[in-house]
């Protein structure tokens, strides 16, 4: 917690409210075309094309899940190999110790388990969750972001951000309302 830069609450950004998902995509695209980069859009349900409209890159989740699956599979097999061949070999009438076909079931299960659990954790980490406090929650109308309203927020950290100019820009998008998002301290929220 560092001291505030100026008197009064700091600004996190400006937020515009819309009431239609497709309008939000169009307006977000317009904001991107106008040169804004540091922004985010909020909706109660996933909207196709919204992330692309604000220039968001492809999610890392699939690559992480793939790596986790491979690691889980190899790890699961090596565990069984180590247990059955090295740590606790059981000689039954001279049959081979590395009975790999019998190990496939557990190898499959550890592949899935690792992919699912690490995939979930990667989603949480990439989304910076859990995050109990976030400045956008300071906007009273934001409660509707999980109901039937759609929000576009341009952040103060954007180089092009200017309190009056950006406000005029957002008001030009014909929103239902434009709100200033206050921030209690100058921690950097994404």
């Amino acid at each position: 917690m560092s001291a505030p830069k100026s008197e009064g609450p700091l600004t996190f950004g400006l937020m515009a409210e819309f009431s239609d998902p497709d309008v939000l995509v169009t307006k977000a695209q317009q904001a991107y075309d106008a040169g804004y980069r540091k922004m985010d859009a909020y909706s109660p349900f996933p909207i196709h094309g919204l992330a692309e409209a604000i220039g968001m890159k492809r999610s890392w989740v699939p690559y992480i899940v793939l790596l986790a699956a491979i690691a889980g599979g190899i790890g699961g097999f090596l565990l069984q190999y180590w247990v059955s061949v090295i740590a606790y070999p059981i000689n039954i009438a001279g049959r081979p110790l590395n009975t790999w076909p019998a190990f496939m079931v557990v190898t499959f299960e550890t592949t899935i388990l690792s992919a699912g659990v690490i995939g979930f954790l990667s989603m949480m980490i990439l989304n910076n969750l859990p995050m109990p406090y976030h400045p956008v929650f300071n906007v009273p109308r934001f409660e509707q972001a999980s109901n039937d309203k759609f929000f576009l927020c341009i952040m103060e950290s954007d180089p092009k951000f200017d309190l009056t100019e950006t406000r005029t820009f957002l008001e030009g998008l014909d929103p239902d309302g434009v709100y200033e998002v206050e921030q209690d301290d100058d921690n950097v929220y994404k």
Binding site: A41, Y42, F45, P46, P62, V83, Y88, V105, F120, D148
Partner: protein, 457 residues
């Protein structure tokens, strides 16, 4: 915002969502089930019944722990009694949840949206009921962790060539992935509950569970990728679980167990009983909470078709078993088939044939598929039949194997029955607690469905 109009060109007669819903009305209707202070009488009745049965379960478990597995009817040669029969039955019931949430998601079946959350919860609780059975059956259940590979002072490790070790991994992975999948879908709805709740305490609890979900484009971007991938990995998983359970039998050499048709036939049977259980539960819950506009007759029509299809696959499994018993020429297999039909447990086998083969044929007819009384009774009949099927496979096979000198009958004791009926109580209590405390229909997916229906993409 009119949605769900009947499409003249399609064969679909009933909409997935009744017309007249908006994003807001969907969210409010679903969260009101939880946020409404008034608890419907139907819920109290179901939860109360469940609690009574749960008490019976707890008493049975306490008695079992005090006196050991000898309180059951198991002995040599039938060492796998009701515990394994019911374990397989519950695991099978769980399958519908993952099938609905994962496979039907990949196949883009819109109708899954209003029942997937509920079915996934049902899966989780069925896996809980199932998973407890082998542990109770261990004899020394407090040492259940010996099943897992961990470094210990005995220097012992599990035998990875054993189907029972595979089972541990299959069931625990299934339980974990089902929970992850369910919770991943739940996070955005928990945020919705946080925002709709009025009471500060509820806001705090739901806010904590939602972990700060804001529904931002970045959140959705990662969330939707994960959801798709979880569906993709849960699809082979759901097929594998009952396959591995069937290996417990198929790997053995006992007549009636040693059969290659087991994996597909077990999976089909699992889906068959799972969908029947979804029907059993959804009919009263839909009525109690007036969800007729979200869980429509379309759902029951489609589920009826799934039950019929998987029922026919199960029937094919029975016929194959009987045919191979005769065609294989092994006297032990042939005796087993005869023993099923004219032996001491013949009433069970004929009951099973009626429940699983004859009764589901009613589902060929659409008026019966959309008649909820018929569907409800039929779903109970089917699940009874599936329990009898597992009884036939596990117990009849064990009573009479290769050597007549080692034959013996299995007679269930009252403790066998009380644990079986009690486990239904455990299931009901968990399920109705879920219905009362968490959104049982996925709000964000219903809103997304509405958006798609309005815009045709």
């Amino acid at each position: 915002m009119q949605v769900g109009q009947t499409d003249k060109t399609s064969v679909v007669e009933f909409p997935v969502v009744e017309p007249g819903h908006t994003y807001r009305s969907i969210g409010e209707k679903i969260s009101n089930v939880v946020l409404n202070i008034h608890t419907p009488l139907g819920w109290v009745f179901a939860f109360g019944t469940g609690s009574i049965l749960l008490m019976m379960y707890l008493i049975s478990v306490a008695y079992l722990f005090a006196y050991g597995v000898g309180v059951w009817g198991i002995n040599i040669p039938v060492g796998w009694g009701f515990a394994i029969v019911t374990f397989v039955w519950w695991i099978g019931i769980g399958h519908a949840g993952t099938l609905i949430s994962a496979i039907l998601f990949l196949l883009r079946q819109d109708w899954r949206t209003s029942i997937n959350r509920f079915a996934e919860a049902m899966t989780l609780f069925a896996v809980v009921c199932a998973g407890l059975y082998p542990i109770l059956h261990l004899g020394r259940p407090w040492l259940f962790y010996w099943l897992l590979p961990y470094p210990n002072t005995f220097g012992l490790w599990p035998q990875f060539r054993s189907a029972l070790a595979w089972d541990v991994f299959a069931v625990s992975t299934y339980g974990t992935i089902s929970a992850v999948f369910w919770f991943t879908g739940l996070i955005p709805d928990l945020a919705g509950m946080r925002d709709r709740a009025k009471h500060p305490m509820l806001k705090f609890i739901f806010g904590g569970l939602a972990m700060g979900w804001r529904g931002s484009a970045r959140h959705w971007n990662n969330h939707q990728k994960l959801y798709l991938l979880l569906a993709a990995i849960a699809t082979p998983l759901v097929v594998s679980v009952h396959t591995v359970v069937s290996f417990d039998f198929a790997i053995g050499q006992l007549p009636g167990w040693h059969t290659t048709v087991f994996p597909p036939y077990f999976v089909a049977g699992a889906v068959f009983s799972g969908f029947a259980m979804v029907v059993t539960l959804l009919i009263p819950i839909r009525k109690i909470y007036h969800l007729e506009d979200m869980i429509t007759l379309r759902h029951f029509d489609v589920m009826g078709k799934v039950i019929l299809t998987t029922g026919l696959i199960v029937a094919y499994g029975y016929i194959t078993e009987a045919f191979i018993g005769w065609y294989g020429g092994s006297q032990y297999e042939l005796f087993l088939i005869k023993n099923r039909f004219v032996g001491p447990y013949a009433p069970y086998v004929f009951g099973l044939i009626f429940c699983n083969l004859v009764a589901p044929q009613l589902l060929w007819f659409k008026p019966l598929r959309t008649n909820l009384t018929v569907m409800f009774i039929l779903s109970l009949v089917i699940n009874t039949g599936m329990w009898l099927e597992r009884f036939m496979i596990v117990i009849i096979s064990l009573t009479a194997d290769f050597l007549p000198s080692s034959w013996a009958l299995f007679v269930a004791t009252p403790w066998d029955w009380s644990l079986l009926i009690g486990s239904i109580g455990l299931f009901l209590v968990l399920l109705f607690l879920f219905v009362r405390t968490l959104p049982m229909i996925s709000v964000f997916e219903m809103q997304e469905l509405l958006h798609k229906q309005e815009h045709g993409h």
